[in-house]
Symmetry: C2
Subunit: 102 residues, 2 copies
DNA sequence: ACTGAGGATGACCAATTGGTTATATAACTG
DNA sequence: CAGTTATATAACCAATTGGTCATCCTCAGT
């Protein structure tokens, strides 16, 4: 439901995604890494689930959370025109430096 | 002070940035486009200012707001490793389709 | 100096957020 | 079945958010 933008607003949630980028993680591992209470982490995971940014695999009592990066394309797409914008600025800077050595 | 991530969490603020991408805008113009009250828009503009995402040029009573895209590089940089991630998935899909025609 | 226009700020409000502790649920273990 | 482990949910709380209306400030024109 929520957009990826809102999900990324919180640094702990970005940290979770960063951790999931390397491999799947059980909740307890995320708790250790984030230094939050277990329910605190579970709440962030719920937000990420609702934004479809993670998947869950059940294995006995454990839930293995994995990264699901697709919704990030929304952010990437939104960013695209701006990217052109700032590379223009860098290009202009480079041209300026070339034309005005030292 | 606030990060670009937090500033982008609100759709109205993203809309403001989108409008500023085309050209500078006075506050009254943004008010018309967003359909919010003038103070409401001013509050969003303050947030964007504090995230260094906009610049203000004073011209008599008017404030001309302009885009300042640099802080978006933080988002772009964070996104970079994920970009590789989902293009991998697309590549895998393409390989799968090539190796299994129809 | 007065007036009006353009914006910012203050005060307020309901809803949401990010965290907590306590409790519930579900699955393995003896 | 009783106990333990892993996670989710409930209840609660203070702080923040996104919006409003009313007011203030600054500048231009008269």
């Amino acid at each position: 439901m929520a957009t990826a933008f809102a999900a990324l607003a919180d640094p702990h949630r970005r940290q979770i995604l960063d951790l999931l980028r390397a491999r799947e993680r059980a909740v307890s591992e995320l708790v250790d890494q984030l230094g939050l209470s277990q329910p605190g982490v579970s709440k962030h995971l719920r937000t990420l689930r609702e934004a479809d940014l993670v998947t869950v695999r059940h294995d006995a009592q454990r839930r293995w959370y994995g990264l699901c990066p697709e919704p990030l394309t929304e952010v990437d797409d939104w960013l695209a025109p701006y990217r052109a914008f700032w590379s223009d600025r860098l290009d202009a800077l480079e041209r300026h430096l070339e034309e005005n050595p030292d």
